[in-house]
Amino acid sequence: MTQVAQRHQPVRRLVRFDFWLDVVLLIAFTLDFNLEFTGIAAHEWLGAAFTVALVVHLVSHWEWVVKTTGKLRQKYPNKEKLRWAVDLTVLILMTWTMASGFIISVRALPALGFTGSTEGFFRNLHSFGADVSVIAIAFHVALSWAWIKSVGRRILRRNATAPLTSGQS
């Protein structure tokens, strides 16, 4: 299939879901990162929701994870290898940030009947992980920019031209 023909293909539902999930994740991370804006309670609950969304994101890309990991030792484009390394970094940073965030929680955990920790290690890891994640996520987005641009264009173009009564989901 030529690139031109591909551009006019309707975007599959799963790809569309993936695209919007990514957009929501990026916005949620940006808002959640800024504690001055959200306040501590919203920060923690948004973080909890973000954790679930991140697991969904990982599950939806699991095939890519397995495929790329399997090909790392073979002749494989350097860009894909770099993307794999960046994605692994993002996974580790985000998981540590969220796990430590749960551990030091002062609003969400107590609301559920648990007591958060005040251990310095977790508090500093949470701050450090979040700060480095900002940069790592930017690289994560940058390395997928061609996909984001292509799918985004197709989705927006389709939405702009589709009749209102088409009932697209």
């Binding site: 504690l35 998981t95 251990e119 390395l143």
Partner: protein, 108 residues
């Protein structure tokens, strides 16, 4: 079935990464992340004095003015995305040029 399997694998991977975090905590790296060993004293200390965002009373409630700071977060991110896009564009142009030269002017 595949979705359930992928979810289980993903959760296992995440659990492994969390276990790694506790592993790091048990190593000397712990001291790099802990700047004050007396955690009780640390909590009592004034937060704004230490610049700790989580303990800063100003951050307890929603503050609409913070949207400026939130938007500011996007600036370095946008710069990185743009930078990578420029590099990627250069790389692609170089590749196209190499193909063009190899095929005597036909960029394929």
């Amino acid at each position: 079935v595949r979705l359930v399997r992928h979810t289980l694998y993903s959760l296992t991977l995440i659990a492994g990464v969390i276990a790694l975090m506790f592993g790091v905590r048990a190593t000397p790296f712990n001291s790099l992340m802990t700047d004050d060993h007396d955690d009780n004293r640390r909590v009592e200390r004034s937060s704004s004095e230490r610049g700790d965002r989580r303990r800063n009373p100003r951050n307890q409630d929603f503050d609409p003015a913070g949207i400026v700071a939130a938007a500011g977060t996007l600036v370095p991110q946008a710069a990185i995305v743009a930078g990578v896009a420029v590099l990627e564009g250069k790389r692609r142009r170089k590749k196209t040029e190499a193909i063009r030269q190899a095929t005597n002017g036909d960029p394929q």
